[in-house]
């Protein structure tokens, strides 16, 4: 069971990252996911340096073609629901990156 209090605390950090732009530093594609991410596997994870200098690690969504991935490609932070919660849990929304 995911703690609703932890989701609530985390939400504010997520909010502050939404809409921020950055560029890809490195990436990988996961084929052996942990159980809570099986339903969306395989997925690409990007390590991004945001404009404000902060680094983030997030799934890359809606990127049509893996071959378009390259160091320096610009992305923006958006909202997605990635972690599969038990059907009774509070939903843990999180950040993801989209190519721009």
């Amino acid at each position: 069971m995911i703690s609703p209090v932890k989701v609530w605390r985390r939400q504010k950090t997520i909010r502050d990252l939404l809409g921020k732009e950055g560029s890809i530093v490195t990436w990988t594609k996961i084929f052996t996911p942990p159980p809570q991410f099986k339903h969306i596997a395989p997925y690409t994870i990007v390590f991004v340096k945001l404009e404000n200098g902060q680094n983030i690690c997030a799934q890359l969504v809606d990127c049509m073609d893996d071959s378009l991935l390259e160091v320096g490609k610009k992305v923006v932070v958006t909202l997605r629901k990635l972690r599969e919660s038990v059907s009774e849990d509070v939903i843990p929304y999180t950040i993801a990156c989209k190519c721009i």
Partner: protein, 338 residues
């Protein structure tokens, strides 16, 4: 009325599934289905998306550049992420609009958001709040092998209602309601049910015609007074038929008929048709708009475009060409059916 729409945003997911690819799975005649429904493909959101994430996408566009405080946030959907828990507050928090607002979740099949729009207008017109955000968002699911499987789609539209520098002024509204069980879903049941052909004449047509006739009468207008008309689009046929029955021409509704490429995004459907139309509307032109929600009701509005529209117009037709086709198993994976 002094109130109008001051800004808008939309979100259509990138992925599409062709009606033909669904038909082939069930051994149906693809071209017969395409012709019968007037739909060729529909928009599909991924397993990482739901009505809330799509609402965030469309509302962050609408909110961009909006400075007035949001006094009310209305969230209209029929695919809420919780059975009990507001989505309006989650969205409000993510958009960072503070705490001094009315958060309001609403459902009424495909017209949840337009009903909320009427409430928003009333609050702004009465000067009780400075601006309101109305969000329509759905990740609609159809039961596999059911007719709705071809049209149930994903999308979101957000509208900000206010008095300052509207892009569309709102001239009038009317609502027509009755108890008509054409489409419903019981608690705990995964897929909605519907009355087949009962969803036509006694439902969709009766209520849209009822609302539109009332608004035309109230404002002493005729179909010819409008440059554009937008009707709710459960499929590609109904809006064309209801337009004809009401005396609107095919030219008037042409720009709005996005259902053939995007499917029916339920609460966002008619509003998406409005967004598609706004790409072409010129200042001074009038739009007649009517939504439909099963159960049943229709909300009709008359909008007039202002010169502000030129500054805030969003490109739509090119954006929705940015798409990728998926196959049926991927569609089932994205819809969490497998």
């Amino acid at each position: 009325m002094k109130t109008g729409i001051t800004s808008y945003g939309f979100y259509v997911p990138q992925y599409r599934i062709r009606v033909a690819d669904i038909a082939n799975v069930w051994g149906k005649n693809a071209s017969e289905i395409e012709r019968g429904l007037g739909v060729i493909e529909k928009a599909v959101s991924t397993a990482a998306e739901d009505s809330l994430t799509m609402a965030y996408e469309s509302s962050s566009i609408a909110m961009s550049g909006h400075i007035l405080p949001i006094g009310a946030l209305f969230f209209g959907t029929e695919s809420p992420v919780y059975a009990v828990n507001p989505s309006s507050t989650i969205l409000g928090e993510l958009l960072d609009i503070g705490n001094n607002y009315l958060a309001y979740d609403t459902q009424f099949a495909c017209k949840a958001a337009t009903g909320a729009l009427i409430s928003a207008i009333a609050l702004v017109e009465g000067n009780q709040i400075q601006s309101a955000l109305v969000v329509a968002s759905d990740k609609a699911t159809g039961r596999p092998h059911d007719a709705l499987e071809y049209t149930a789609a994903s999308g979101s539209v957000s509208i900000i209602v206010g008095e300052k520098k509207p892009i569309l002024s709102i001239e009038a509204w009317e609502s027509f309601s009755s108890d008509t069980p054409d489409f419903w879903r019981r608690e705990g049941i995964k897929y909605p049910s519907h009355g087949g052909r009962f969803t036509g004449k006694p439902s969709y047509f009766k209520h849209i015609i009822g609302a539109v006739k009332a608004i035309l009468s109230k404002t002493k207008s005729k179909p010819e007074d409008f440059s554009y008309a937008v009707f709710h689009m459960p499929n590609g046929k109904f809006p064309i038929q209801v337009a004809a029955q009401l005396g609107f021409s095919s030219e008037q509704i042409q720009r709005s008929l996005i259902v053939s490429e995007l499917g029916n995004s339920y609460t966002a459907s008619a509003l998406m048709g409005l967004v598609a139309t706004l790409e072409y509307v010129k200042p001074g032109e009038k739009i007649l708009f009517a939504s439909y929600g099963s159960g049943a009701g229709s909300d009709a509005f008359i909008f007039t475009a202002t010169p502000e529209l030129e500054k805030k117009r969003l490109l739509f037709s090119k954006k929705i060409q940015d798409k990728k086709y998926i196959d049926y198993p991927t569609y089932l994976k994205y819809m969490r059916i497998i």
